[in-house]
Amino acid sequence: MKLKLLQSPVSGKAFFSLFVFLCLAGAVFAQADFTLNGKITDGENALSDVSVIVRETQQGTTTNANGEFTLRVSRGQTLVVSHTGFETQTIKVGNRNEITIALTAAAGNVLSDVVVVGYGTQKKTSLTAAVSTMKGKEIASVPVANLSNGLGGRVSGVIVKQGSGEPGYDGSNIYIRGLSSTGSNQPLLIVDGIPRSFQHLDPNAIETFTVLKDAAAVAPYGVAGANGVILVTTKKGKSGAPSLTYNGYAGFQNPVVLPDFVNSYEYATLRNAAAVNEGLPEPYTAEELQKFQDGSDPDAYPTFKDIWGTITNKNSLITQHNIEVSGGAERIKYYAALGYMQQEGMWQATNTRRFNVTLNVDAQVTSTTSVSFNLNGRNQNSKFPAVSTGRIFELIGYLHPLYGPLRFSNGMPGTFLTGSLFNSGYEKYGINSLFSQLSVEQKIPFVKGLKLRGTIAYDPTYTMHKLWTLPVHKASLDRSQTPYVINDGIWGQTKPSLRQDIDFATQLTYQAGFNYDNSFGDHNIAVLGLFEAKANDLTSIMATRRNFNLTVDEINLGSSSAADMSTGGASSAARQAGLVYRVAYNYSQKYLVEASGRYDGSYYFSPDKRWGFFPAFSVGWRLSEENFLKNKISWLSNLKLRASYGEVGALAGSAFQYMSTYNVLGTNYVLGGNAVQGISERSEPNPNITWERAKKTDIGLEASLWKGLLNFEVDYFYEKRSNMLMSPDVIIPAEYGVGLSQVNAGIMSNQGFDFTIRSAYDFSQDLQVSLSANMTYAKNKLLQVFEGATTYNNPNRRITGRPLGTQFGFHALGYFQAEDFESDGSLKSGIPTQPWGAVQPGDIRYEDMNKDGQINNDDLTVIGNPTAVPGIIYGFAPSVRYKGFGLELLFQGAAKVDWYYHGSAIMPFWETMLPYKQNFDYWTPQNTDARFPRLTSSPTVNNSQTSSFWMGDADYLRLKSATLSYTIPASVMNRIGLQSIRVYLSGQNIITWTRLINYDPEIGPNNSWIPNGSWGYPNQKALSVGLNITF
């Protein structure tokens, strides 16, 4: 009946009556005091000591032990309800004498949190697993396009590394508790209970992130859980009147750092200096140097004084807009959101636009049946130049003054870069994806606490790829004529070409199971049983045409010659199925025991190796509930010890390595003048191949002191990954001629700790401060890997026993100096010889580790920490609120990580590429402790050996994000008739402190001269202005 009443349209007459009544009431009762009786809960239990203040009078009270309070108020006044660990609420008194207010836990409060875990939820207090959480709200205002970039530094145990700032490709690599395998270390990503990527969801639509770290938490994911799991839940509707919220920001981005190349004058100066060093004639005359310096002859002597300024956009746009509607009646709740994100790139051809729609409906269909329906759609379009980003960065390295200016005086492109960057056509990706799912939950009326549930999720993804390549023009200068003649030219293909791909991927997931929750006195029991099956299918098709006569990017308008067209396509499938269980028992919320696991199967392996069992056990002890502590130590709100142990799996390698198979190759050879197919042996099969096994141990301590003023959680973890898939190639002879399939042979350990500490203190109603910090330390060790005798028997070179990715090379001792040589230029006796040509003063000298008088591979040793994942990662986030103002900062740092500077990343004239400003600090007899060795026209073999000389310490600390906000006071809002308005300034990657020169420490100088993507598109520093309105 009630429902019907709410839905009945309000007639004009009734509305008018109501209006008149309210006006009258307002006039009559405006100043009249009355007594308000209230109760405050956390949604379930009463909360004591909650502060309730009447904003207009600043008078107030606190709740008693039953959560009740009494206040004299007048209509139109506003209550401010605040309590440590909960979100502060403001509520209009209205026309009521009784009120019940449910506070929601603030981010950081542990006591009343309900935590999302694998295939269900649990109260934080009764958790026995290592789980960390974060609210989606924390990153909704931060200007990042890809959600994964918002996680860094916020959650303990999570290591995030953003390897590129390029729109559309800027997702971070996420590692949970470091590296545990030589194979894949990617965690499993789950959205609303189904395996999916969260990276491109609308940030505003996210309720929580949950990170599952230990065996007890990940065991329900069986063969897919060993690298940890990140669960994301999207927002659900809340009962009550509809609320409409707008949240949006617009900002601009600039690269965090760009390599500082020399200009033309500096280039020519260095070239001359190198030639002089080598006794060769100088390539540039003083007159030419002058022209490079003053720019008097820009066609023949371009200055290149601001390389980056002329090719990159400054302040490229990033903007995001979101509208959410949420509400519900007693039996139906809904949440709907529409999001838009646009991100422009460093150069004009690059951008990404994304629409997200979210619709979550929960309906209580009968008193025992509830249904949820979730839809999450995405349309994303990304555009790039047709020439790959890696190639563009490579071409920037060839902005030699000799080749021509960016543009000649008549506007024609003068470098290979110009056309490639600005007019090479385009590459587009259009992604349309949908996450859709329907869940039904049925209570069984005659068995208390028993629910059955079933879910079907269907996720289709269409990806359209289009690559339209135009001829790249590069004009050239004929200097033999006066005035100069500028000739147009084309580099590479002379006519346009087009490639189009369509991929259609689907994922179909079924889940069916039951939950049983019941209490028998002090005995509480919860049981979960569930079956899950997942099927992925992918089909793709490709077509190309070359030699377009018309410049129209339609596949059918290309050349109609058969030689100018080609087609391709592929399909693949993946299957996984498993039975999940979890049994949790606790006695009086004090002693907690849990067993969980999964019987799981994967299509990866041969039929008799497909199925495995992955169990985990955990226990918890809430000391704070013991009589000897409870109510005796008043400042101790919660103290829990927990431990877990279990085994999970990882699909680290690739599928089908058990089969003896051959690859079919499309166009492989030419017979009789025609292309023919070929077949090659893939690798020798391994019929016994199976998953990796991770045995995980975790011991954790959680405490909450002074009613949540200080919360901390610390975990020690130890993981032993065995059955690790490794290629045995290093122990078979090079003459074997084919790779072997991986075998389950490696063993690796990974241990460390992670902790979170959170503190919040309200000095007054107006001034609140909080600080949270987290840190993760992880150190892995290869216990058993395939290793050849040469390195194994040399303690300096042994890989076994060291962390994965340890960097080896020669240990550089500095430079050879003049006093190391005899007068005839030969090395003095006793100095170990180096085999890469005759050395001179100013060349790098390496340490003879084995003291045999010569430098060779036996002298290699450890020169650096692994690059992939820092050993230590930490974050700390102070925040202050004063009245309507709020300032939230997030500092994030990493330590125990080194990057190696490859050739062109640091050495002058590597592959004739541009040097850097820092290369001026080279060795000369007067500058014997220079940063760089003696200058040569190309790096010498001796000086470009892999050595500690070129290792870069990539520890860093950065102000990862900051938000300064102002919330307009409620009194003002009342007059406007809106619920709230918040304006904010926000930023990402704002300041970085690092020793790494020219490169972002997250991306590093991974750019050896090898083209095609190995150069990194720098991460972006973004600053934005945002607005948040709730209507």
């Binding site: 009968t366 590479g492 399909s571 499938a573 089969m659 070929g678 077949i679």
Partner: protein
């Protein structure tokens, strides 16, 4: 209540149906990869098995345009900095750890062994088997010839290694150089009768097998492998090459320029070539080695810059070498009246390429000015190569070129025959005929009559260096003839061209980055790569490499 019951039953149906699917889970996880075929399918039909052989053909090395092996000889230098030929091999600073090497041929050898083993065991038709097995054995012998040329004796593996079945027996020791040579020679001799004289283009023929046999015999007769100069070895090579000539299948293609272009693929002169197809992943990128700047625009990469030393080997149009007092050669007009092949192979100062005049002079702002300071931006020597570079596909990026990479052609057979016959029995008429046939194609007169064996040897060597320039034949010749210790020691040369008082002045100078060191005590063979030694304790390193 009725409604509720209905709901329950709906749920039950969903749950039951899903659970039911679990009973068929075994089937559910059965996924067959779509891009692979099984052992059973592959060897069941000729057509399928042929696809495997196609892939072996595709494994035959083509020109590695980034740093062709010609640059390891004294014929050319890589114009690009930092390449192995100039940085590591040239200065002789290669060690087992960083040596250029051919060890990757074992991948191809395995393919051959696998094909031979499976096809032999199959019940496919015998006449098909006979030809295909001969093809695979030829290819295996060819891959071994590459290993043997550069590394000496290597492990002769003729079975499919299988560590599960063979255990430590997969760690094979090296065979001697003599054994390796004998294997190649034996294999070619054993299969030549099974191969057709004429086959589908791209496939191996009888002529190819004989030519490879001749190559191995010639190499094995040369001073490096035949220090006692056993004349029977030369005789053996001459006999084999004569068999190729007597097939009467091959003749010289009339035009030396277009001989290497796509329109002449598989012409009458070609005995064995690696096939290419433009517009596909099988395109030939030879344009990359050609002239760097044409009309100021980057065209090729200049990866092969001919040395002055090679240029000096080209005869005058009258057939006389430039060192002959009567040749009419003028060092200040070095490009006048040279033989045809010079103009067909090399770009020099003021020559025309793609309609543009190429300027190698200093001080006139030319991007192609001879690079005297090792900046690796233009030619290192004052020359570029155009032999084989089709003007149609001169751009480094052009993937349209279908020209095959010729491995053996008839001119080499003639010159090798002449050399072997001259060494075995002296310069008889057949020697003259063979050399003159090559010379006449390029409008050079016959060699003067009455040359003694030594003079003929010199004449053949010069002819060979010029005729086969840039075809990666020079380094094997320097090695087998033990010339490397002189030719690959010291420096190779470039031309510096200045305008002095209005006159063009040519000066021969050492080429930047062209300093070479060759230690005869070890460098006649490359070391076995350290990575291979590390994995196989039975491999013995070549002498004097640590």
């Amino acid at each position: 209540m009725k409604k509720q019951l209905f709901k329950i039953s709906l749920n039950t149906i969903i749950i039951l149906s899903v659970s039911f699917s679990f009973t068929s889970c075994k089937k559910f996880l059965e996924v067959v990869p779509t891009n692979q075929v099984s052992d059973l399918t592959l060897w069941a039909t000729q057509d399928n098995a042929d696809l495997f052989l196609n892939n072996i053909y595709a494994s035959v090395p083509t020109l590695e345009t980034g740093d062709p092996w010609e640059n390891f000889s004294d014929n050319s230098l890589n114009g690009q900095a930092g390449r192995v030929s100039t940085n590591v091999y040239g200065p002789g600073i290669y060690t087992p750890a960083n040596t250029p090497n051919k060890w990757g041929q074992y991948t191809n050898i395995r393919k051959c062994n696998l094909f031979i083993e499976r096809v032999t065991a199959s019940s496919l038709p015998e006449d098909w088997k006979k030809v295909r097995l001969a093809e695979a054995r030829f290819l295996r012998a060819y891959f071994y010839s590459i290993l043997w040329t550069y590394h000496g004796g290597v492990p002769l593996i003729t079975d499919v290694l299988n560590i599960n079945e063979q255990g430590d027996a997969v760690f094979r020791a090296r065979n001697t150089s003599e054994e390796t040579a004998s294997f190649i020679i034996f294999e070619c001799g054993a299969i030549e009768a099974d191969l057709p004289v004429t086959a589908q283009s791209g496939r191996v023929t009888k002529g190819a097998a004989l030519t490879l046999k001749g190559y191995a015999e010639l190499f094995n007769a040369s001073p490096l492998k035949n220090p006692s100069n056993d004349l029977a070895r030369w005789e053996q090579a001459a006999t084999t090459y004569k068999k190729v000539i007597d097939l009467n299948k091959y003749s010289l293609f009339p035009d030396y320029t277009t001989l290497f272009y796509e329109e002449s693929n598989n012409n009458v002169e070609v005995i064995f070539s690696r096939q290419h197809l433009g517009g596909t992943s099988l395109a030939n990128y030879i344009g990359q080695i050609g002239p760097r700047f044409v009309n100021g625009s980057l065209t090729g990469w200049g990866h092969v810059d001919p040395t002055q030393d090679l240029v000096d080997e080209y005869a005058m149009a009258n057939g006389l070498p430039i060192t002959d007092p009567g040749s009419g050669y003028n060092p200040q007009k070095p490009y006048v009246n040279r033989e045809k092949r010079f103009y067909e192979s090399i770009i020099y100062d003021e020559s025309i390429w793609l309609g543009a005049t190429m300027i190698m002079k200093q001080g006139v702002g030319s991007l192609n000015a001879t690079d005297l300071n090792n900046s690796s931006i233009s030619t290192r020597t004052g020359y570029y190569v155009i032999k084989g570079v089709n003007p149609k596909y001169a751009g480094a990026q052009d993937n349209g070129n279908s020209a095959n990479w010729i491995i053996f052609r008839y001119a080499e057979v003639l010159l090798s025959y002449a050399e072997a016959r001259n060494e075995a029995t002296g310069p008889d008429q057949s020697v003259y005929d063979a050399v003159n046939e090559v010379r006449n194609r390029s409008d050079l007169p016959d060699l003067p009559a009455g040359l003694n064996q030594a003079d003929m040897r010199k004449a053949i060597a010069r002819e060979r260096r010029v005729e086969l320039a840039f075809e990666e034949k020079r380094l094997p010749d320097l090695l087998r003839l033990k010339l490397a210790e002189t030719k690959l020691n010291g420096t190779v040369h470039a031309i510096k061209i200045d305008i002095v008082g209005g006159n063009t002045v040519y000066t021969v100078v050492p080429a930047g980055g062209g300093a070479k060191v060759f230690d005869p005590a070890k460098n006649y063979v490359l070391p076995i790569p350290q990575s291979a030694i590390d994995k196989n304790p039975n491999l013995e390193q070549n002498p004097n490499y640590q």
